[in-house]
């Protein structure tokens, strides 16, 4: 791999940047792999990267039906935070935060992780109580989170309207300073480049059409658009399409897939210093380094695979944004889009072995999987390589829906659904 550095940049300037070369190969699939990952989004590519790097499993293929990072990885609002309620979640999301810090250096790829702070607003007495409960729970679990009065919130985020005259006045906020944003495409590209360098084959435009199981029920390979690929281990990381992929192996999933929307404004000069989220009136917003306001809306109320969403959902969010940040009222929105998110009944992910030997699943990230990308890939790689979960993802099984040991994060998930 050609390492990126200042010297390399200077050298390539002499040839007008014409000779940088490919960041990863475009190989044809081999007949057999040790591990096949289905889905080349951030989580799937991170899994392949850590399989190769931490566990020495380099004979790995990542199969992608479309293009690399073209699903929810390329469609999310790039927010990173770890202020979930339960200790199981705190461990999982904090593991990701630990990896975000230093990820650019590790991948030799600028993922533009910016710990600019994530502020979650409280608008009602109930909100205030819930937010403070979260803060106390977080601090006991070693997760950084603090309470701000409306005046302190305004000081941290000057565009915020803390007038008492709006429909849902700001009564305070929970601030996680280590939260922030990262560049979503760069995360996928950085992991892809790193994994490819260690021998992982990333095969795009290769739809998986079947999972073959032997007489003993164990996985024997996958049928794809580019022919049969033999393998003993399959990791499914297919987000909104997980139910359909798992159906191929005969495993029922506790998932429902909904369109989740986001939109961006025209780019402007730096005007917004942090990330602000409001669960109650449903809006979240940050400003990208390009200058666009990146705004997250809610999910549609019905299952859909259409990758669009109802316009009334985005309108509802824009109403809230205009109320909270009046000086954005005259800004024009450039684009909106939808991604298909797989939601579990308890709003916590599933990172788990399955009843089928050799089949592993990483799904159910619902409306907030981007923030966990490095941690998710790291523990899922461990689960596949050792055939047993890492202590961090051990509670996130499919079996919890039978035992009743749910990890209820409905309040922390931030998107109403």
């Amino acid at each position: 791999m050609k390492r990126y550095s200042f010297l390399e940049l200077a050298k390539n300037a002499f040839s007008a940047h014409q000779n940088w070369g490919r960041q990863w190969r475009a190989p044809e699939p081999k007949a057999e792999y040790d591990v096949v990952i289905i889905g080349a989004g951030g989580h799937g590519l991170a899994t392949a990267y850590y399989l190769a790097k931490e566990h020495g499993v380099r004979n790995v293929a990542v199969l992608e039906k479309g293009w690399l990072g073209g699903g929810n990885t390329g469609r999310n609002t790039t927010i990173v935070r770890s202020n979930y309620l339960w200790e199981e979640s705190a461990a999982l999301y904090n593991h990701a935060i630990d990896l975000w810090d230093g990820l650019s250096q590790e991948l030799n790829y600028n993922v533009m992780y910016s710990a600019r702070g994530v502020m979650m607003l409280a608008h009602t007495v109930h909100d205030v109580q819930v937010a403070q409960r979260h803060i106390h729970a977080n601090r006991l679990a070693g997760v950084q989170n603090e309470w701000l009065t409306p005046e302190q919130a305004k000081e941290y985020c000057p565009p915020l309207n803390i007038s008492k005259d709006i429909r849902y006045p700001v009564m305070g906020a929970a601030l996680q300073r280590v939260g922030g944003t990262a560049r979503h495409d760069a995360v996928a590209w950085g992991y892809a480049r790193g994994a490819d360098d260690m021998g992982v084959d990333i095969i795009q435009n290769c739809l998986v059409t079947g999972i073959k199981r032997g007489a003993d029920g164990a996985v024997e390979g996958v049928e794809t658009a580019k022919g049969f690929i033999k393998t003993k281990k399959v990791g499914v990381v297919a987000a909104g399409n997980t139910t359909n992929v798992m159906d191929m192996a005969g495993v029922r999933m506790p998932l429902e897939s909904y369109p989740l929307q986001a939109l961006v404004s025209e780019p402007v000069k730096p005007a917004f210093p942090c990330v602000v989220m409001s669960n109650t009136i449903h809006a979240y917003i940050s400003q990208s380094d390009k200058g666009e306001l990146v705004i997250g809306a809610g999910t549609d109320q019905f299952i859909s695979y259409s990758q669009t969403g109802g316009i009334h959902i985005t309108n509802h969010t824009i109403d809230a944004i205009c109320e909270l940040f009046p000086h954005f009222r005259r800004m024009r929105m450039l684009r909106n889009w939808g991604g298909i998110v797989d939601v579990t009944p308890d709003r916590s992910p599933i990172l788990s072995k399955t009843p089928v030997s050799g089949l592993y699943v990483n799904c159910g990230w619902g409306t907030g999987g981007f923030k966990a990308t490095p941690g998710s890939g790291h523990v899922f790689a461990h689960t596949i390589a050792k055939d047993e979960p890492h202590s961090i993802n051990a509670p996130f099984t499919i079996d919890r829906f039978k035992t009743g040991r749910l990890i209820d994060e409905a309040a922390a998930a931030a998107v109403a659904h």
Binding site: T243, R252, P254, E256, Q301, S304, S306, G310, H312
Partner: protein, 101 residues
């Protein structure tokens, strides 16, 4: 936004008048004390999450308040059939063929 026909009010109204009630035709276990953990998990949590022709419940919350069932293509979001809650599930394959899937 969907336009949905309420079979009780016999009118077409925008989606915001309705509430989606999830997958249709899931029957509650008849004898709770004889129902295993697996069967409870199946009833409570496991869902078909169909990509294609799906049956789902809707409730006309800002109208008559009644539940009814809808057959919808979850890829195009096109509604193929609406039927009352005690009517049997229609022939999905025939509806799929009609819709050209």
């Amino acid at each position: 936004m969907l336009l949905i026909y309420c079979p009780y009010c016999e009118v077409e109204r925008p989606e915001t008048e309705f509430h989606n009630g999830g997958e249709a035709h899931i029957a509650r276990p008849a004898d709770p004390s004889k129902t295993s953990d697996e069967e409870w998990a199946e009833f409570l949590y496991m869902r078909s999450n169909v990509k294609g022709i799906a049956v789902e419940r809707w409730r006309h919350i800002h109208g008559c308040g009644r539940f009814f069932n809808v057959v919808r293509d979850t890829v195009s979001d096109k509604i193929l059939k609406v039927y009352k809650v005690d009517d049997p599930m229609p022939d999905l394959e025939a509806l799929a063929k009609e819709a050209g899937r």
